[in-house]
Symmetry: C2
Subunit: 153 residues, 2 copies
DNA sequence: CCGAGGTTGTTGAACGCTCAACCAAATCGG
DNA sequence: CCGATTTGGTTGAGCGTTCAACAACCTCGG
């Protein structure tokens, strides 16, 4: 059976391309700034953030992967690098002998604290300063809807 | 001089994290689908799209990089791969001996035509179907504002 | 016409991500 | 209690991106 493709109309085209351009430019900028100023990509920064917010700054690998929106494999590679940098340590899990627990070290926390102001400033300048309060609200609703829609299917 | 960091308030935090989660999930999904169904990452798909829309399906490397939102280096590597796949050809530029012109081959066009319906369907399902018409309009304005703000600074 | 400086495009190394394969440990069904 | 299945995490290969360095060419002032 032949199914007709529901192509994008001109308005949707325009929206989609603007969305692509905007998100790419935004992420590229933040990523480059973070790499330059803190020596780490945004994905690693986010891992450190999630760890810093966890009780005792420790999380099971799989929970950390979930929180950071990362695959297990990606996280495993990433934590290996973060461990080599001295920013994260691996502990064995007492209740599950398969488990590993990633722990943010003091050095990791210090590095994160040094990187955060510059990064937040970038997010503010490149995202929030460009939008009206109403648009920020719209963006929140849109993003939450999309995130629900994508992770719930 | 010490400058106070303008931290994100809770609403901004929530917006930023939802935005991160949504864009990451969306791009990951589309990228994976495209890789599975068409054997190419989204960045390569976009290069083929831009070429297909150009007069005679040919563009100077630097214009193509601009159009696809890519660095020169990235495009150079990408076109090398696309050429190896037989989807793109390189011609010399007649007016500038430094120049190279990327040309979409018939095989490239055929591959793109085969990949497009599935990809567009994905964009529709994961983005437009989840949003109201008003939200699509909001997203367009927000994206255009951000893109202007980022590329114009 | 010449040389300085800018532009175009490529290259190779380092790095991060993906995917599939894999091991070890936990859990489930009978 | 035992085998089958599932879960947690790691590994290595292949690929795409970045960055810095580079070569070739153009351009513009003098």
């Amino acid at each position: 059976m032949v199914v007709m493709t529901r192509w994008l109309d001109p308005d949707e085209q325009r929206t989609w391309r603007a969305f692509l351009a905007a998100t790419r430019a935004l992420m590229d900028t933040l990523d480059r700034d973070l790499q330059r100023d803190a020596g780490m990509p945004h994905a690693y920064y986010e891992i450190l953030v999630r760890l810093s917010e966890a009780p005792e700054r420790r999380l099971r690998m799989s929970e950390l992967a979930q929180a950071a929106g990362s695959s297990r494999s990606r996280l495993s590679h990433a934590v290996a690098r973060l461990e080599a940098a001295g920013w994260v340590r691996r502990d064995d899990c007492p209740t599950d002998r398969r488990g590993q627990i990633a722990v943010l070290t003091d050095a990791g926390f210090t590095t994160l604290a040094a990187a955060a102001p510059g990064h937040v400033e970038g997010v503010r300048r490149h995202l929030f300063d460009a939008l009206s309060p109403a648009q920020v609200d719209q963006l929140r609703r849109i993003s939450e809807t999309l995130a629900d829609h994508l992770t719930g299917s």
